[in-house]
Structure formats: C-alpha cells, structure tokens
Amino acid sequence: MGFQLENVISIKDFTKKDIKFILKEAEKMEPIARSQKTSKILSGKILGMMFYEPSTRTRLSFEASMKRLGGSVIGFSEVAESSATKGETLADAARVVACYADAIVIRHNAEGAARYISDIIDIPVINAGDGAGQHPTQTLLDLYTMKRIFENIEGLKVALIGDLKYGRTVHSLAYALAMFNVDMVFVSPKELKMPRDIIHDLKEQRISVHETTKISDVIDDIDVLYVTRIQKERFPDPEEYSKIKGAYRIDAKMLNGRDVIVMHPLPRVDEISVNVDALPQCKYFQQAFYGVPVRMALLKALIK
C-alpha cells in the first residue's frame, strides 16, 4: 500500500512515499484524463464541492477528474449559493454535505477550514485552498509537471519567483521540493521575501537555499522558473508597484536560447508576457492540464 492518508489537507501531512505514489498513479490516469480511455472506477460515487471562494481551474479540474472516473458532483461554487449567508456554521454545512457525498472538496477563505471539517466528518476531505494557508493539490500537480518533463525531480534547480511572502502555492511547494533534495533559489523584491521560518525549516533539512532580488542572477543556472503573481494591494505606493512588477516579468527575449521551463499556478496577469506562450519553454498550460490526472489519482486513493 502506497497511500495512507485519509484526507488531503496540507503537504506537510505527506511523506515522500505518499507523494511518489500519487505521481505514479497520476501517470496511469493520463489516458483517461485525455479521453483516450474511459473509466468507471468511481461509478455511483458523489463528490461534494464546497467552494466558498471563486475558483476556475481547481473547481473545474476536480469536477472533470470525478466525472472522468465515472462519478458525479454536487455542491456550490460561491458563498452566495451556500447557507453561510443565512448564518449557518461551516461545521453544520459540512455535516450536511457529508450526508449526501462520498468525499468533500473545500475551498474557504479562513485558514484551517479544511482541517476543521476533516476533524468533524467521517468522509475524506480535500483542501482546495484555505485562505493564505495550504493548497496541497496544486503542489502535487506542480511536482507532477516537473516529473513529467524531467523524469526525475531529484537534483533539479528550481527558482521560485515573485510574491514569496504571501503566495500560498510557493510555501507548500518549497516544503515538497525539500523532500526531493531540490536546490532552490528564491527571487523576490525585498518586501516579499520568503518567510524566515520557512527558510529556517529548509536549512534545518540541509537544503541548499539562495535568495536574490534579480532574475538575471539565476537564469543561466536553473531548470525551472516557477513564476507567481505580485499583487498590487501588497504595495501602498502604486509607482513602487509598477517598478517592481516590471523587474519580475518574464518575456521571450529573456528565455531566448535558454534551457529552462516556465511554470505558473495561474491565473497569470502580466508577469509572463503572452509572447512566451508559443515557446517550447512555456509549460503553464500543460501544468494546468496535469491538475486532472493528479486529482483523479487522489480521488481514487481516497474514495473507498
């Protein structure tokens, strides 16, 4: 047995063995995700979707994953459709959805919401993003993308770029990459540096970690540029924001002749120029597709 988890709440709950199991299973799911094969393994099963915050990719890819495996989906996609507007607690809402479904996927604006309901209900819970907290399925699909492109995650050199302070995907990803002994470089404006406690944890695991403010310092010696969006609201001064935004923008000229791939959790705004989209280095749309086989593998492992 490769997978012991009953819920998928935080990447910190995973062992390297759990992650490798899911990545391997995801590969088997790819022909089904691409509609080259059909599957009925979750036929008759229902996935409950509790989305208190809007989401396109995560919600649609979970729905696609469940349906590709022969299952069906119920739920709501924004808080206005839920009974939270009538004052119902999350605890009660989760108990009710658990009466109708075989597993729950939740996105909520409060940190810890997924862990909280997983303590209350008996069916598996998958965290699809809890505030500024965890988004473990994004991390798994990021790892899967690297594995599919490079075959081995071990030994890669990965640069995490942009908002490393508030970006939830980069925190989980840094912890996961550490399990695979990946060399990491954190590239961000000084206002948005990777939190000290994360750097401390990584160094304790003897992971090679470097920090810089310039992409040009690292681009010649890196396999993966993992780009995240710098949000305007992090900067009180709009002029400061536009200056910083420009310094962390990836474009075709920068990538010219370089053996590097570009990943992004999406939605992208203007931190990657559209002139990158047609280049072989562009992997972010492929990355978005890989969300389906990875989530299929998780659903299969969790729903008994």
């Binding site: 607690t89 409060a110 940190e111 810890g112 505030g131």
Partner: protein, 154 residues
C-alpha cells in the same frame, strides 16, 4: 511558634504553593488559575532570591489543592515551576510542571483569519514543537506562536 526572621512569605496550613515561577511571571500564573476569584486567599511574591535560578516568583493559594491538569498550563509561562501541595503545614505532594505535547482550549490563535477565530463551535488546539523557548503550532492554520504571543494572552 517562633517566626524565623528571614521568612518573607508566611507558610500556609492547607493549599498549594507554586514555587520557582520564572521571575515576574506570577501575575500570568494567577490568570491561568482564574485568580483572584473573590474568595481564595492568595499570597504572591515577585522577584524573590532563588539559590537555583537567581530570582523567582512564588504563588500560594490557601485551601485549594490544584490538580495536575490545572497547573500543567503554567508550563507555558514558567517551565521550571514546582507545585507543592500542603496539608497541615506539611508538603504531602511535590512535582514539577510539565508542558504537555498539546495545548487545548486555553490559548487563542494569533492568526485573525484562522478558522478558530471565526464564528465556529471549535476549541483551539496547538502542538508543542519546541519547549525552550516554547513554540506552538496551530493544529488548524499551522501558524507558529512564540513566547511573546503566548504571554500577551495572559
């Protein structure tokens, strides 16, 4: 009974003496114990000399025998404190406080956006991930809490 001159705090007949409290933390300890409660007779000594630690605080609560689960939370504030149960001027039980692996209910998560700070029927829960200095991790939002944040709650 002859009263020794050097005795700054009067012995008690029955009750609990909490000794070796980290100096200047006695008032936090009272808060943890829900004191003063309007009826208990309590003696507090702050910044006393201690041969072992240089200085210390002492709290004496008369006619109340604190239970170990009541006082274990004191370890969050004063990890070297000792508890003495007194009956008829004699120490009948003595033990050191012990910080449990988990802290339930007592503390609030410092993250305002944690689910435990929303209107949900939930008790807070923290894992002790470091004992000296004390660092706790919220079971729900995974946020870390250090000594300053712990003390500011008492």
């Amino acid at each position: 009974m002859r009263k020794p001159k050097e005795l700054k705090v009067k012995p008690i007949k029955n009750g609990t003496v909490i000794d070796h409290i980290t100096s200047n933390k006695a008032l936090h300890v009272l808060k943890i114990l829900g004191l003063p409660d309007g009826k208990s007779r309590v003696t507090v000594a702050i910044n006393m000399e201690s041969s072992r630690y240089g200085s210390k605080d002492i709290v004496k609560v008369e006619n109340r025998e604190l239970e170990s689960n009541e006082v274990d939370q004191i370890a969050l504030i004063a990890p070297k404190a000792t508890i003495n149960i007194i009956r008829d001027y004699e120490i009948v039980e003595k033990w050191k406080v012990h910080l449990l692996d988990e802290v339930h209910g007592i503390l609030k998560c410092p993250n305002p956006n944690c689910i435990t700070n929303k209107r949900e029927p939930v008790e807070t829960r923290f894992y002790v991930i470091n004992r000296e200095p004390v660092i706790l991790r919220c079971h729900f939002c995974e946020r870390l809490m250090g000594e300053d944040e712990i003390e500011s709650q008492f």
